[in-house]
Structure formats: C-alpha cells, structure tokens
C-alpha cells in the first residue's frame, strides 16, 4: 500500500539491489518517504548510502527491484529525467561551479533562454535567484558573486535553495553537514526545519551527526552493508541507541 493516513509516499523503493562487479552495494532495499517527512539515512562509510541516493536520483539504475514515484512504478533513466519529475539532489560535492556566479549556479542545466534566439536571460535569472534566496531566508551578499568566493555554508545553502527553487517534490541531501562549522551547520538545519514546516516536500537526509538526525528527522533508517537494518520514528529512538547499533557492528567484527 502506498496510501497511509491519506498521505501518499512521494517515493518508494521495493526490493532494490545494486552491485558493481563483485561488490554488492545494495541488497533488497525497501524504503519510503512521505510528503512533508524528513527521513534520516545513517550508516558507516561504504554502507551504500551514496549508491542508494544515486539510484533515487537516476544517476545509477537498480539491478533488481523497482521504484515508485507518487504511487506509480517508474524507471529513472537519467538525472535530467529525475529532475523533470521533481527529484532534486544536493550532492556531497554540491555540484557547484566555482567559476560561475550564484545565479547561474542556481539555474545550472535549467537556464532561462530567450526564444527563438537561445540567449541567456541573465536579468530574469538574477531576479529569480534573489527572490529564491530571499524566500527561504538565505543571506548572500550578491547573486552575481562567483560561488568560489563564498563560504562552505553559503555554498551549501545555495545548493539547497537550488533544489527548492526547482520545485522539488523529493529533496535528497547527501551529507550536507559534513565539513561544516557549528554555525554554518545551524544555518542548514534551520533551512531544513523551515522546509519541513512548509510540508510540501519529502526530504531524505544523509548525515553522520546522530543528534542532528534525531533533532531534524521524523524517521531514521540505518544502512549496514547494503541492507536497511533499522527503521524507527525519531521520537521512538535516541542518539544512544543509534550509536549502540553502529558500534555493535564493530565490536562483532573486532573479534579475532
């Protein structure tokens, strides 16, 4: 069933598997996230988090299993295809081009052009970029500044703003808080809570900081060796339990 309490799953993965040569990156993954819900995805490095994200975003195709988007089975052919449906991703490396100004990064691969002559509509893109940033409360000095001049937190915020601006239905965030100071991380967390309150977007967040995950997410999934081994609502779990689960794995594997 995709309907639960009248709220539909935005995306649902059923029995998804993926291997790269001899490596089984993902095995029989079942995962779903609803509108207005923030799902936390945690797990050690190499557990398959990024592979899962890349499948949900059309970058990789699953070997087995299927995806349902808004209740309909779908094969995501490419990132562009996924984006056209409203699946937006903020990757670890942000997919930001340092040499391009903020407004062009916000419109990357979705540039506005005149017709019939395909020239860029720079003024309009600048105006919309300013509007998009203002609407979610991101303070960037100038939309014409090159992204390379901005701080890590600002870049991350722009990457999130880009997805929201593109009217994402599903937003995938691949470790947006890694390599970020407390203040800048706070900026992103505030942004996420704001999006959650708007309630029109489903979010999957990959993170390493479990207290942040418990704070921001509605539900937590733990990925271990390509399998989802844990699925609980945040209020039914705790940081201690999550740490225990992840560390238990090490204690077992440490036995000679």
């Amino acid at each position: 069933m995709t309907e639960q309490n009248g709220i539909q799953d935005v995306v649902r993965a059923e029995h998804v598997s993926k291997s790269f040569g001899p490596v089984n990156a993902l095995e029989d993954i079942n995962l779903s996230v609803r509108k207005g819900e923030v799902l936390g995805l945690i797990g050690d490095n190499g557990a398959g988090k990024s592979t899962l994200i890349k499948i949900l975003t059309g970058f990789h195709q699953p070997d087995e299993g299927r995806l349902l988007f808004e209740g309909e089975p779908i094969e995501l052919r490419s990132v562009t295809h996924a984006r056209s449906l409203g699946i937006e991703t903020v990757f670890q490396d942000l997919a930001m081009v340092n040499d391009l100004p903020v407004y062009l990064n916000l419109h990357l691969n979705a540039e506005l052009v005149h017709k019939p002559l395909p020239f860029l509509r720079r003024r309009e893109m600048k105006r919309r970029a300013r509007e998009a940033l203002d609407s979610i409360g991101i303070d960037i000095p100038s939309v014409t500044a090159e992204v390379g001049q901005l701080s890590g937190g600002q870049r991350q915020a722009i990457a999130v703003a880009r997805s929201v601006y593109a009217e994402a239905k599903l937003l995938l965030l691949d470790e947006p808080l890694a390599a970020m100071g407390a203040k800048e991380g706070g900026l992103i967390l505030r942004l996420l809570s704001e999006l959650k309150e708007r309630g029109d977007i489903a979010i999957i967040l990959i993170a390493h900081n479990y207290s942040q995950v418990v704070d921001v997410c509605d539900r937590v999934n733990l990925l271990q060796h390509g399998k989802i081994t844990f699925d609980k609502r945040s209020k039914d779990t705790s940081v201690a339990e999550l740490l225990e689960l992840v560390h238990a794995e090490y204690r077992l594997s440490d036995v000679p």
Partner: protein, 349 residues
C-alpha cells in the same frame, strides 16, 4: 545599483537613461560582462607594444604592414577561438596545427576528383570536424587524457599530410569566387577571424552551451550530477577546434597560393595556445574568454611583426614570447586573487 537608484529616485523621466538602465541591468556596467580586468590589461599591453613599434620602426604604420600583422594573427586567433573553449573544458588539442596542415590537401583531393571548389572546401572542413569528433570520442569514451590522444593524432595527421602530398607543396586553386571569399581577397582572413571570434565569444558568454562548457571544466562531476552531458560538451568542443583549424589552414593556403605540407604543425598550435594563455585563459578549466585570446594573438602578431621590421632575429622573439607567457600566467593567478579581494560583499540585485 547606483545608476538604477539615481535614475528612479530622481523621479525625472529621463528616457535615454532609462533605456541604458534597461540594457545594462541593475548596477552592472555594460562593459563588465564583456571585458574584465584581465582583458583590459592585455589590451593596454597590446596598445603599448603598438605605440612602441610605431615610434621605433618606420614602416610599422602602413596599410601593408597592418595587413602583415593581420596575416600573422588570423590563423592564431581562429585556432585559439576553438582552443579557448577546449581549455575551459579542461582539455587541450595538440593536433590542431596538423589539422591546419592537412585540410588543404583534403580539399585538393576532393577538387582533383571533380568536386566543385566550394564543395571540396566544405567537404575538407567537414572531414576536419570528423577528426575532432574522433579526438573527442577517444578522450571521453576510451578515457585517454587529451594530451596523449591529440599528441598521437598530431603525428598521425602529420604523416598523412606528408604521404598524400609526397612531401612537396601543391599550388592552390585560383580563379573562383571561392578563392576570393576564403582567403584570396585582401582582408578576407582577418574578417573570418573576427567573425569566428565574435560568434564563439557570444556562444561562450550568452548561451547555455557556454555555461555547460564552463561547468564541465569547472566541476566535471558536479556538472554531470546536474544532468549536463559533459562528454557531449567535450566532443562538440573537440569538433569545433578541429573545424576551425582546418578552415584556418585552407584560408592561409589559398592566401599564399600554395599548400605546403610543412606548414602549420606544433608551432601554429602552440602560438594559438600562447594567445589563449596571454589572453587570460587558464589551463585548469572553468574560465577564459575568446576575446582575450584574440587580443593575445594581436599582441603576438604585433611583436612578431615589430621584431621583423626592426631587424631583431626570430630567436629574440621566442625569448619575448616565453617571458610574455610567464608574465601573463603570473598575472592571471594574482589578478584572480586581487579581483576576489576587490569585489567586497555588497547586495547588487
């Protein structure tokens, strides 16, 4: 911001001002998008070199000499227009100079087999496009670095040029409107160069393909994750430079009146790279301008010509060229740092 604010705030219906605000966009001077500090500095150096040689050598300021300079710079500027796009993609084409060499012989091959001159020219240029596509495919699908791919292609093409020409020059076709349009008439080569530079600069700074090219070189993985087909962008740019290189080779051959298998080569290719680098393109990808490369080619042309006129040997020219590249590269690096420091945080839109 100031301009927009004052024109609106004063409340006067100042038509010309309103219109200029419209054309410029809020707060951004019109020229800023076209010429940045890098291009401005190279322009100043070029003017300074022009003034120096006007003063020191008698024949510098004459129509014939300007034409000589144009003959030097045209092929460099045309090839550089393609090379800049490729360098912005973080790739390089070392074979362009030998496409330049080979193209006229492909033309002759078609022409001698009964094709009309114009179609032979189009066919030859298209063959060159094909060479570029092959470079691009080897680079992207076999994942061979472009330096190696195009080095191999360079020697391959040099060999083919020597084989089909038997190592000796052939005289170019004459007596056709095609000859006049493509290199024969006085300023034809320069006009083609200016048109190509204008078109490529427009594509680079005002179209989606320009943005894709910068994104591909600036953040390859990120561009791909955004759904930009980076391999296609690279292949197209490889095709573009080969097309231009072949076209430049044909223009020069027709102007000189003979097709020479020892013409072009690494020398021509590296002059184009030098023009690009002096004009502010880095080899790291992500940034550069075609107009800058044109100015770089102009500077090289003026210095080359000036040295000839003043009787300084070609050896000294190479010393100057070397220093110019090193200084330009250093300036590039430090200008970028400076530019970042100058553009203080301010809200402009």
């Amino acid at each position: 911001m100031t301009r927009a604010v004052t024109s609106k705030g004063s409340g006067r219906k100042d038509q010309p001002d309103q219109r200029s605000e419209h054309a410029r966009g809020p707060g951004i001077p019109f020229w800023q998008g076209l010429i940045r500090i890098k291009e401005l500095s190279i322009l100043l150096v070029t003017i300074a070199a022009g003034i120096y040689f006007s003063v020191t050598s008698v024949g510098f300021n004459s129509a014939e000499n300007y034409q000589t300079i144009a003959q030097y710079l045209a092929p460099w500027a045309i090839i550089a227009a393609g090379q800049v796009m490729l360098l912005i993609c973080a790739e390089i084409d070392l074979s362009a100079g030998f496409v330049f060499t080979l193209a006229p012989f492909i033309l002759i091959l078609f022409y001698n087999n009964g094709l009309p001159l114009f179609l032979a020219l189009v066919g030859a240029v298209l063959m060159c496009t094909g060479i570029g596509v092959i470079n691009g495919l080897i680079r992207t699908w076999l994942n061979i670095p472009s330096f190696i791919t195009t080095l191999g292609m360079a020697f391959l093409l040099q060999g083919i040029s020597l084989i089909i020409s038997n190592g000796s020059p052939v005289s170019a076709p004459t007596d056709s409107w095609v000859v006049d349009v493509f290199g024969g008439s006085q300023w034809s080569e320069l006009i083609w160069a200016l048109v190509i530079v204008a078109v490529m600069q427009t594509i680079l700074s005002a179209t989606r393909f320009g943005v894709y090219t910068k994104a591909t070189g600036g953040n390859l993985v990120g561009a791909a994750e955004s759904g930009i087909r980076t391999k296609r962008v690279k292949i197209i740019n490889f095709a573009v430079i080969s097309t231009f290189a072949g076209f430049a080779g044909i223009l020069q051959g027709i102007r000189v009146g003979s097709f020479d298998p020892t013409n072009g080569g690494f020398n021509t290719m590296f002059f184009a790279v030098a023009a690009a680098v002096i004009g502010g393109t880095t080899l790291l990808g992500g940034s550069g301008t075609v107009v800058g490369a044109l100015l770089g080619a102009l500077l090289l042309g003026i210095v080359y010509d000036g040295f000839n006129l003043t009787g300084v040997s070609a050896n000294a020219f190479n010393v100057v060229l070397g220093i110019a590249i090193l200084v330009a590269m250093t300036l590039n690096v430090y200008m970028t740092v400076l530019r970042k420091r100058i553009s203080s945080p301010r809200r402009s839109v």
